[in-house]
């Protein structure tokens, strides 16, 4: 079992009564937890808090040395960020980038952060704070998988996780991002997308469009079918919550699922299993 995956007791049945899809685990990412149906394989995951990219993974021997080696020749200094923390600054183009790693109970917690020249100390203080506030477990905080950062919420947080649907070309994505103003545009302009499909010689059909509340958040779900010349028609499902400006606990949220039309029944089943499982993770 992966770190931080919560076993879910019970079986989800999708609304349409089609093939049942079980939630095999729950994934805590950022300020939310979401059930992951069977047949989905995670292909990427990223988290950012206070503008610091942070990753927590089971510690692998030699992984840090490989990171250091990858930047060989570009390393400009190796700051001390506290006991048990390895760190270095390196130049990439005009960027000055800090990478650091702390080992916590068999987990490597890694951060990446840039800084303008002369501001290195500020970045080191910020990075140290993020690393120091990591705790195992995802009952609360800004979740990374095996553990969470117990800070904030910050005004600059974002997460993104992608899954591949086994046995098909289906893809799913979950992302959140704090906003200054509610984002009422992303995935909301069907007419613009219809124009894009038309520009490609195809058509776009809205299969359904409705308000849908998940985790107490009122978002908009839109399902479209795109048909293009010479290609198998594609379906895309989106659920978009616009977020609340300057509220780290209410970032904008997007679920996106895509597949060819032949994969639509399975995609719908996965979608209907996954979305209702969304729940917020307490800050503290």
């Amino acid at each position: 079992m992966r770190w931080g995956l919560w076993l879910v007791v019970g079986v989800m049945v999708n609304c349409a009564g089609e093939k049942r899809v079980e939630l095999t685990n729950k994934e805590a990412i950022g300020r939310f937890r979401v059930g992951v149906p069977e047949g989905l394989t995670a292909v990427s995951r990223s988290q950012m808090i206070y503008g610091v990219e942070v990753v927590a993974e089971p510690a692998q021997p030699g992984a840090w040395d490989a990171k250091v080696a990858a930047q060989a020749g570009k390393i400009v200094s190796r700051p001390s960020l506290g006991a048990g923390v390895a760190a270095f600054w390196y130049k990439q183009g005009s960027d000055l980038i800090l990478e650091a790693q702390a080992l916590r109970d068999g987990v490597a917690v890694s951060i990446v952060r840039d800084a303008p020249e002369g501001k290195e100390a500020v970045a080191e203080k910020l990075a140290s704070a993020v690393l120091e506030n990591y705790k195992p477990g995802t009952a609360a905080g800004f979740c990374l998988g095996p553990g969470a950062i117990h800070m904030g919420p910050s005004l600059s947080e974002s997460v993104r996780m992608n899954w591949q649907l086994l046995g098909s070309g289906g893809k799913l994505e979950f992302s959140t991002q704090t906003v200054t103003e509610p984002d009422t545009k992303t995935f909301m302009d069907v007419e613009e997308e219809r124009g894009l499909a038309g520009a490609a010689g195809g058509t776009l059909t809205v299969l359904s469009e409705r308000e849908r509340i998940l985790a107490g958040l009122n978002g908009r779900e839109i399902r479209i079918l795109v048909t293009l010349p010479g290609q198998e028609p594609q379906v895309r499902f989106t659920w978009h919550y616009p977020g609340v400006g300057r509220d780290g606990t209410k970032p904008k949220i997007d679920f996106v699922a895509k597949d060819s039309v032949s994969g639509q029944p399975r995609l719908e089943a996965v979608w209907e299993a996954m979305l209702p499982s969304l729940e917020p993770v307490p800050v503290n």
Binding site: D114, P116, S154
Partner: protein, 507 residues
Amino acid sequence: MPKKHQVDWHKVDKFLAGLETKETHEIEVRREAIPLVFVPGIMGTHLRRPGTNGEGDADGFPNLRWSTSTGWVLSNLAFARSDGAYRRRLIVGKPYQSFNPDYLEVDEDSPPGDGWRGIMEDYHIFLNILREHDWKELDKYFVFPVYAVGYNWTDDVKSAGTYLAKRIDNIIEESRKITGLCEKVILISHSMGGLVSRTASELCGAKEKIVGIVHGVQPVNGSPGAYWRMKAGFEGFNSLGLVQRALGNSGPKVTAIMGNIPGGLTLLPNKLYKGNDGKAEWVRVTDGGNLIVAEPQADPYEEIYRRKAVVQPKAGEKPSSNEYWGLVDPALLNPENTTPEGGDPFDEMNAELNNSWDTYLKNLAIAEALHDQLSPPTGPLPHEQTLAATGIQHKSADIIEMKVESNLFRRDPYPNQCFRGFFVNAAGKNMQAVLQDPAGDGDGTVPASSGVGVDAPNRPSPGDIKLRMEHQPAYENELMQEWAVKAITAMVKHRYWEQRKDAGGAP
């Protein structure tokens, strides 16, 4: 068996010395290769992450980070999340990364071969016309291999020019191996490719290896259209193709890319730019017919681009002093970073480290340096053998016009294909300056006044030309294709007489 000899085409009327009289000799006339090298416009080159072959995904993003193929555009722009944050990650990198010239590279073979793979497929239509063209008499003396040189359009135009100059050397060397004789190429440019071609020629030492340059719809002195699109997204009223439409229909989507790459900023009006009416002030805000903003007076960098576009007035300020007409709203440069308003000290630290504006200024300085070198006060530098085609009769932003209206309730400065700058006037009323649709003459992107920037009188036939054509598909226009072939022919004839100058006769 006859003894074989090779003679360059331009030396066939010279005496052949040292031939033995008792032998039979076979003389092969060696034709000269003049590679026709096409240089595409911005976003006309496919880009990938270095270290990949452009296939597959990594970190949830495609390794092929830019392509103009329908499938790619639909998957990765049109029907993807595709907000400013996504676009910035796609082209520039993660939020903690600023522009890095090594982040992307041209998606081409190694070695690049004819270079066609790396560029937009739509260009292949014209390249095939060139490849299959019957050059008639000229075929006796010359051969015309057709190449394309894509470049990393996110990077400084100077870097692209340097790359093009190097590729010209490679292409000449490669062609020489095949024909035995190749000294120069002819460049055919589209849009930004014109700036790259002139940079290679005038600033990167390739001039002597270029017979001439055929320019199509070059933004010689830049285009206010670049400003318009960073404010409002790509226009909706034009018959734009899929790629242009997918680039973004709002300022936040476009600025997240263009504001973070020096290549994009190079398309802005330079210090020589004038509107179609000949006036230098190309940003004009009118209130009831009265001109209340007219910029720049002399230097768009200082008077427009380096001014932070604050699009909402400061609370309580009457009249407000926010310069909404500045090019870039700093908040749009790195959408994943939110500027705090006091409170969490760690948010304050993050804000202190967020150098998006400073990075933008660095990228802007790169664009300015290129502009200043390529278009000094004496005028834009062209290659001596230049022919240029300008598109006209399509509505283009030769100036930026905003009209002031009262504002009671609107808050969004960035509706699709529009921009509203909010301010408080001297009477204390809330007002909005609303960006107007482009209305000048041009090709829909480059105004006529800029397109003709390297035109000159008394050029050989077919001369510089103005054609009714749109910007992006310029080389799909039949009249443009015919003109370009004639322009290339004129340059080849110039080359003929350059080689035959000691034989006498008029060029």
